[in-house]
Structures are given as structure tokens and as C-alpha cells.
Symmetry: C2
């Protein structure tokens, strides 16, 4: 065994993976599909060359364990599944960097490192088929809502429990996956940033402070349909006018919040015809912040603004919560180690929150000290075939992630 880390091998493996899992529209490794099973088989074959024990847990997550002198385990994770027409790095960079790090540790410590090191490939991070992301990790963390998950269907009407059965997973037992975390002492995950922050700062790598809390709502303004030709402007109850005023307002709310983001992603109008004032207008609002109090303030300000605009326009407004999750802060010691590993690798460092959710958030919510490392995304874009990262940055990412793993192993040993 060669005890030297080989980041170029990771890039080569990412390209191999792309060669049989992507088509002209991008990556097609959607969870629980034959292509995903093929990806898993490819990964297992690579793991079989290492002195590890590999199995799939009750939720479909794959675990590969390198036993150490201590049972206390350092977890290295990611996900091999992609959205349809996805990028070549989202998820599998994490996994293949973890694999390379596992190889280096296994070689350096002759198959018996000071603490146990485990690689995990989470099942269905993307939620592309059933609209529920973080499936495997939320089953493992215990946060999966079984009642909601049981009735999820894909676009062909196939229920999630039936799709799981086809790949050997029994829906009612998925939370038994939680026992995998029994000896977990730390969790590390590398990921592409999927945003433009590092790109704008011209930095290859960043230490992630945590994942944003999210408030997701549908806001409906209720006005009155009226003839576009015969209704004077001052007599209108224009639901679109009130909804439209929310758009510049959420930019002001986000700016005041220092670090939060707000998005109106969808707008629908009824009756929605060219000759009528809009009677009902529904917009969706997605608000995110790393600080729970700041997130609550953003939500409160949006509600107040909606009520103000409704009153101003003589219309009514109602809110419906679609989803929410609290912010998840990563472990300060691990964030520090991550920052050090990055500085040692490329001399420059930045700390940033994660806008998107990741499996790491579920692991952290389960009480396992966690941190993520981000590598720059070109175009700041993911979930798209144009998703890309410079090869020199990918190599730095593998090096820095490996350094972080070494520091974390030391830390876990010290904590034991």
C-alpha cells in the first residue's frame, strides 16, 4: 500500500464515474435507480481493496469501517446520488475525497489507526424523485417524519415505501439506521460551494460555520377581480400590487439581517387574464439565516410588510408555512481545525455559512460534532451540467480535507 495521498487519483475517479453515469444532459445518478445502484457497486469495489468492513444500513446508507485502536469513530461522508441532469461533483467529490483519505489513513497506520474511521455514503441526499431531501441522513439522525415520508410519491405515483422495497429497504425500519451513530465522535464532509462566495473572493476553499435555518411560506393576497377597462385605479383591490411590493421589500429585509437571504421563487395570479385586475395572488417566500434570532426577525418583518401592503391596497393577506428548519451550527473546534487545514494548504482562508442543506446538518442535529469544508464552484452554479470546479482547486480540496481528517482523528483520540 502507498501511504501517500493521491489527489489526482480522486479527479481521475470522478471522471471515470462521469463516463458511465452522465449523458449529454449531465449526471443521472438519481437515488434508488439502476444507475445509482451501479454507482454504489463501483464504489463498493474500490472499498473492497481496503481493510474495511462494508454494509448497507436500514435506511440504505452505505458504511465502510476501518477499525481503529479506539471504538470512537471519525466519520467521513458524502452522497453518490445526484439530481437528474446534475453536475459531476455535487456529492461524489465528498465521497471520493473521503475514500482517498481513508486509503491514506489505512496505509499510514497499517490498517489500525488510533481511532475508528468510517466512510458513509448517504442514501438520497437530493430527494430528486420524492421531493424529500436528506432521506438517509434524516432517518439516521431520527429527524425523518415517518408520517410525511410514508405518503410521498414520485411523478409516476410510486410510493416511497414501494421504491425502497425494490432496493431492499423496509420503510418501517429505516430509523434503525440511527444505531450507526453509536460511537460517532466527529463527522466531516467536503462539498462544492454551489454558490459564488468563494468565487467572488477568489479563494479555493472555505470552512463552513453551519447551515442556514429556513422559513418557507406561501403568502396569498386576496383582492377582487374587476374589469381592466371599466375599473378606475383608485377603486381596485389589486392582489398583484400588494404581492409585487413584497419583492423589493425582501431585499431590504435581507440587507438589514446581515447575512440572511430571502427569495420569492414563484408567483401565481387568479383569474390571471389580461382583462382583469388580479383577484388572488400567491407568492412563495424562502428565508434563510445562520442565526435563529435573525431568521425570526426576517420572518416577522416580512409578515409586517405583507400586512402593511395589504392594508395599503385594501386587500387581505394570509400566510401558510410550507416548511421550516432551525439553523445548525457546526462544532467550533472542528471549524477551527478546518480553517487551519485550509490555511496550511493554500495560505488563505474564509469562513462562510451554507445556504443549501447538507447531510452534515442532520448529523450535527443528532449531536455529533460536525464540520464541512467548501471548495469554490465556477459560475457559482450546481444542479446543472455546467457545474464545475478548477482541477487545481479539487486537488487542494482533497489535500485540505485529508489534513482536516488527521487533525480530527487527533482531536477524537484526545477527547476519548
Amino acid at each position: 500500500m502507498n501511504s501517500t495521498l493521491n489527489p489526482k487519483r480522486t479527479i481521475s475517479e470522478l471522471k471515470d464515474l462521469r463516463s458511465f453515469t452522465a449523458d449529454e444532459n449531465g449526471a443521472q445518478r438519481v437515488a434508488f435507480t439502476p444507475k445509482w445502484m451501479e454507482t454504489r457497486a463501483w464504489l463498493k469495489k474500490k472499498l473492497s481493496e481496503l481493510p474495511v468492513e462494508t454494509h448497507v444500513d436500514a435506511a440504505g446508507n452505505l458504511w465502510s469501517t476501518l477499525r481503529g485502536q479506539s471504538q470512537r469513530a471519525l466519520l467521513l461522508g458524502g452522497h453518490m446520488d445526484s439530481v437528474p441532469n446534475g453536475g459531476w461533483l455535487d456529492g461524489c467529490l465528498d465521497e471520493l475525497a473521503a475514500l482517498e483519505t481513508l486509503r491514506r489513513i489505512a496505509a499510514q497506520y497499517n490498517g489500525r489507526p488510533p481511532v475508528t474511521v468510517r466512510l458513509v455514503d448517504w442514501a438520497d441526499e437530493e430527494g430528486a424523485r420524492f421531493g424529500k431531501s436528506l432521506f438517509g441522513s434524516s432517518a439516521c439522525s431520527g429527524n425523518l417524519n415517518m408520517d410525511e415520508a410514508r405518503v410521498l410519491k414520485d411523478k409516476d405515483g410510486v410510493p416511497l415505501p414501494d421504491a425502497l422495497k425494490k432496493v431492499g429497504i423496509e420503510f418501517d425500519r429505516v430509523k434503525e439506521s440511527g444505531q450507526e451513530l453509536k460511537n460517532a465522535a466527529a463527522y466531516l464532509e467536503l462539498h462544492i460551494e454551489q454558490g459564488p462566495v468563494l468565487l467572488d473572493l477568489d479563494l479555493p476553499l472555505g470552512a463552513v460555520l453551519g447551515t442556514f435555518g429556513v422559513e418557507r411560506h406561501a403568502i396569498t393576497f386576496h383582492g377582487q377581480a374587476a374589469h381592466s377597462g371599466s375599473t378606475p385605479m383608485h377603486r381596485r383591490k389589486d392582489a398583484f400590487l400588494a404581492a409585487a411590493k413584497m419583492s423589493p421589500e425582501i431585499y431590504r429585509i435581507a440587507e438589514r439581517s446581515t447575512g440572511g437571504v430571502c427569495t420569492i421563487g414563484s408567483c401565481t395570479t387568479k383569474p390571471g387574464i389580461v382583462t382583469s385586475v388580479v383577484a388572488d395572488c400567491t407568492i412563495t417566500l424562502d428565508q434563510r439565516h445562520l442565526d435563529a434570532a435573525a431568521l425570526a426577525k426576517m420572518l416577522r418583518e416580512a409578515k409586517e410588510a405583507s400586512q402593511h401592503f395589504a392594508k395599503e391596497g385594501n386587500v387581505e393577506v394570509s400566510w401558510e408555512r410550507l416548511w421550516q428548519i432551525e439553523p445548525v451550527l457546526f462544532h467550533p473546534d472542528l471549524v477551527e481545525m478546518c480553517s487551519d487545514a485550509i490555511s496550511e494548504t493554500c495560505g488563505k482562508m474564509h469562513r462562510l455559512p451554507s445556504g443549501p442543506l447538507h447531510d452534515a446538518a442532520e448529523v450535527a442535529r443528532a449531536g455529533v460534532p460536525t464540520v464541512m469544508m467548501f471548495v469554490q464552484s465556477l459560475h457559482g452554479i450546481s444542479h446543472n451540467k455546467i457545474e464545475d470546479t478548477k482541477e487545481e482547486h479539487l486537488e487542494m480540496a482533497v489535500v485540505a480535507f485529508d489534513k482536516l481528517a488527521e487533525k480530527a482523528m487527533e482531536w477524537v483520540r484526545g477527547e476519548t
Copy 2:
């Protein structure tokens, strides 16, 4: 024959008509349907009691002629067709007030008035089935676009020419209807206002100055989809933000125009999901004004605003014209007569433009001196089963319309 006008009979006839053409959802006299044919037969029976010649022209319009000492003809018009689930007055009040006036004139002049008087029931004013309003009157005026009309289909896929054939109308000959206007010297039409202007002024009747010109456009802002969690606010190309800013702006544009109206009736967003910044946003804009220069200015200001907001938000904007029509001004002498007839009837008067289009606009565009009279609408609402007008206002409307007809007859005789 009783030579006294009987406005109560008009109300009674409107109620009779409602009894067999409305259901619990409102009036169902959609053009070219069996219920509309039944309505026509009912009207023809009433006309057959008068000394008139009645026929249907090449476009399906019904004409009933009371020959006078002069061939020069005063036309009294309206439409018996309704939208689905329509009101009990829209269109048929015009027709039945014209009928009552025709009765009075026939009786008073012993069947031979000084000028010819003709009642016309226009075919398919509403355009409810094929989405093309003013069918019969635009065929008669010569303004019907044959290429566009030929390919119109109803929601069951039936082409307009086939539907016309079923009621005995040959599509390619509809413009022969134009010969009906040969001796037309003036055209009068009574209509419910369909808006709240007279209601707000607490006036029963108004003289109509003309019909608004209309500019109807689809405006699309082109931005970029981006993850709602990972994209900083200042990096966004948010198509909805630019589109939303147009809504308060069109209120300012309408206010500056003095008398115009602007409506954004529909908004669609793509990809239109809660987790993405809007890439493309299309709104429809309907602008109306009685003054052509003011309408052109409103359109220019909207275009400039859209370009400003696009630039401000780093997005692109494109415009597509959906439809336009120039303003139609009614004849000043007839507007004056209409005002006098109203003042003589109820002591109060108001002049106002018409926001909605009417058959009268097509007749005016064909060069026939034209005027309309409006009667107050309760709730300012039409195209709805709750459409209504106080009975005392309906009676006043018939009286005032009859006075207007007498004045117009005198005018036509004088002009001959």
C-alpha cells in the same frame, strides 16, 4: 297601437328573458348556441307584432327595419348574447330598450316615421366561445381580420367557420354584412356601465364620449435561476424583482395620464419553485385611454420603466404586442343630444369614456355617427350573475334612450 312608451314593459321583458335563459349561475345566452337561437326566436316573435321587415345578415346580425319617409336610417342596437354565467342586463337591456323605442316610434308615426329606423341585434358581441369579441359588428364594419378569425377554435376544438355553418352563416361571406350600413345615418346604443363611475357619483345615467384605445402586451424579464440558499442577494438576476417593480409604476403612469387605466392581469414565473430565484417572469399589461396621444405616452412610459428596472436588476426585458385598438370618439352632436336627453330625464348628467369595448365602437369606426348611453351598474360589476341595476334606473334609461332616439331622428332628418 299604444303610442306611449312603456319602460315597465322593458323590465318585464328582461325578467321573462331571464326566466328561460338563466340558471342558478347566471345568464347562458352564449352566441351560436341553442339557447341563443331560442333568445333570437323570442325577440323575432316580438318584432313580428310591429310593421317592420326582419332578416338576418351574412354575419348573423339580425336587422329589423321600420321604413320611414327617408331612406336615411337611424340604427338602434345591442346584443342578446351573454358570457357564460353572465348577468341579466349586459346586451339585452340595449336591445329591449331599442325594441320599446321602436314600438313607440312605429305607433307615434303610424308606421311611417320621418326617417327609417332599424333595430340591430349584433351576433357574438362577447366572443365568449371563440375568444374574439365584436364578431358580428366587426364583420359589418369591415374590420374583422379574416385570417385570424378563420383559425379560431372553441375549447372543444370546433373551428369558428364550422360553428357558423351550423347556424346558417357562411364564413367567407360574413363581410357582405357591410351593405347593411349603406344608408346608416346614426347609431345609438344603451348599455349598463359595467364599472363604478356612475355609482360613485350617485348618478343614474351618463353620456359616453367614446371607447378607450387599448394597448395589450406581454412583458418578459429574463434573469437567471439560482439557488435560494447559496446565492447572495447582490449576485442575483431576479426576473420577478424587475417585473414586480412594474406594478406600483403602472399606477403612477395611469395617474399621470389623467383618465387612463393600466392593469397587470397575469404573472407567471419560471422555474417557479420555492428554492430558486426566478429566471423568467412574464406579466401582461393592458393600457387604455380615450386619447390616442395619452395612450401612446402611457405605453412609452411603461417601456422606459421596464428598461430601467431591467437595467437596475441586471436582467433583460422583451415586449410582445398581444393586441391593440385605437380610441374611438363618438359624434359630438350625438354626445350633446345624449347629454340633453339624460338631463331632461333625471336632471343630472355626466360624460364618461367607456373602458370596455362595445359594438358601437365598430359602427363608429365604419364612419357612422355614433353615441352610447350608460346606466349605472350596482357593485360596478358585470359578467357575473350579481350584475344588477336599480329598476328605477332601468326605467329612466329607457325613457332617456327614447328621448335620444327622437332627437337623433330629428337630426338625421335635418342632415338629409
